[in-house]
Amino acid sequence: MNPVWHIYKRELGRYFHSPIAYIVVVLFLLITGGMFWASFFEGFPELSMRRFFGDAPLFLGFFAPAISMGLLAEEKRSGTLELLMTMPVSDLQIVIGKFAAAMTLLAVTLAFTTPYAFSIGTMGDLDWGPVIGGYAGLLLLGGSYVAIGMMASSWTREQIVAILIGFFLCFVLFILDRLFTNSTGLVAQTAEYLSSNYHFQNIARGVIRLSDVLYYVSVIGICLTVTRNALASRRW
């Protein structure tokens, strides 16, 4: 069978045995859930997931680097990367298998938040378009952040360094459009286009545009390529 599959399974197994993964998932669910329900019952309840989709991107910026920090840094630290890289598997297959495993954990975690939507849905007429869009957006955004976190993880053997670089890059992408609100013209447009949150808010409105999807796919593609090259650079 394909080596990507074996790497994927191995990586999921690692999450399953790792207290860090449980802690991070639980924290993410507690914080986003707590904030969502707190604001939901505060004042007049609003039958939408807007609050959740407003907060989640920021917390994904913490969550994604936390689940991806160990993907390569840990293999480098323990020396198992040497094992992997001398097996008949390409660098890209290693990267894809690991990315897919982190994405699975992300998807499972997000799936745990869908009861919020279903419970609101029982209270009244929920507009499902933005909800579906929002989740698609979270997966794309989260995917980009996971890819960024994995890239950071390929640059160091220390998980803590990886997570800090990951936080930093995710956060910069997240607030980029807000950094340039006073600018106009090309600078503002560029900042807006590069901002991860800007594209997310577009999708979370329920309108899935190709350009927004393309943005995330590009970020993921670029980061995975850089990651692969970071691995391959050992052979130069």
Partner: protein, 343 residues
């Protein structure tokens, strides 16, 4: 060993880390079925050589072929044929032995129907059968080493590369791992590195000595011994038997006059005995002449012993620690003479 197919072929292999020369123009060939020891001081380039052979590192210059495939151009073909145990013994701590070996077997493309039986077989060979359900993080160093070895063998590779497979083990474990290497070596080509010399003598068909990134010697233990031994050294101990017996200096001159003797040092001299370090040309045996000299001069011959070069001596002579080696050999000679004296 056999002059069979070439298994590993290295030409002009050079690896630079910036300005640091880890390997410089290393050439060697290993035939199928040979057990070859890579010997050298720490930092000599043994590990770098192995990392290049397994495709983990790229060479700066030169080429390396394993089973006819170039490690750079045909990395996947090489990786399929090589089993590798890095010095760090990379294991996934969070897995149990069985799962770890299963992961490696799968990644190494062992047919899925055979995975289970292959794990059993390899675990048996490596003495791990009763440990299959144990978490790797709970295992002792010796067992971790075995898991590492099992990992390197599970896909029945043609070439097995082991980087210091016995480091950090206790003496019993070292012997077990050595026996295991010999056992494996019946069918496979093995290259392993070590800085433990007895290991080389115990296990290897051939030794390649690396120093400062260059190959300094390549051959069997006997060949290396011959190469290093440029002279014979004898410790001669004589005792005066009466008042007419000559003095130490006179004896020294007489010894120096013997055929083939190049140099004589008086190591110790007392009223009871004289000890000398006598050096002669390679292959010259002076012991008969010494005996004759003793009887002719009324001396008692207490000892006449040819100094043996140990593997350590060979190693140190090859790796350039010659001055210290010289001092040591002298020290050893006088120690043996004074030990006799004490006795």
């Amino acid at each position: 060993m056999t002059e069979s197919a070439v298994s590993v072929e290295v030409h002009g292999l050079t690896k630079l880390y910036g300005d640091v020369k880890a390997l410089v123009d290393v050439d060697f060939t290993v035939h199928a079925g040979e057990i070859v020891g890579l010997l050298g001081p720490n930092g000599a380039g043994k590990t770098t050589t192995m990392k290049i052979l397994t495709g983990f590192l790229g060479a700066t210059r030169g080429s390396a072929k394993v089973c006819g495939f170039d490690v750079a151009e045909n990395s996947m073909e090489v990786r399929r044929r090589v089993g590798y145990l890095p010095e760090t013994v990379p294991l996934y701590e969070d897995m149990v032995v069985y799962d770890y070996l299963k992961f490696v077997a799968n990644m190494r493309q062992v047919p899925s129907g055979e995975v289970h039986s292959r794990i059993k077989e390899t675990a048996d060979v490596c003495g791990l059968s009763h440990m299959a359900g144990r978490f790797i993080r709970e295992m002792s160093k010796g067992y971790r080493q075995r898991v590492g070895l099992a990992q390197a063998l599970i896909h029945k590779p043609e070439v097995v590369i082991l980087d210091e497979p016995t480091s950090g083990l206790d003496p019993n474990q070292i012997i077990e791992i050595r026996d295991l290497i010999k056992e494996i070596g019946r069918e496979k080509t093995i290259i392993f590195s070590t800085h433990i010399l007895q290991e080389v003598a115990a296990v290897c068909d051939r030794i390649i000595v690396i120093k400062g990134g260059s190959k300094v010697a390549d051959g069997t233990v006997a060949e290396l011994d011959r190469r290093v031994r440029s002279e014979e050294r004898y410790t001669v101990t004589l005792a005066p038997t009466g008042s007419e017996s000559p003095s130490g200096d006179v004896v020294r001159e007489k010894l120096a006059a013997l055929g083939g003797v190049e140099h004589v040092d008086l190591l110790s001299s007392s009223a009871a005995e004289f000890a000398f370090l006598v050096r002669s040309g390679r292959g010259v045996d002076i012991r008969h002449d010494v005996f004759q000299l003793a009887t002719d001069n009324g001396l008692a011959l207490l000892g006449s012993e040819r100094a043996r070069l140990t593997l350590e001596d060979i190693f140190r002579s090859l790796t350039g620690d010659a001055d210290k080696l010289e001092a040591d050999l002298r020290g050893r000679a006088s120690a043996s003479s004074s030990a006799e004296e004490a006795a």
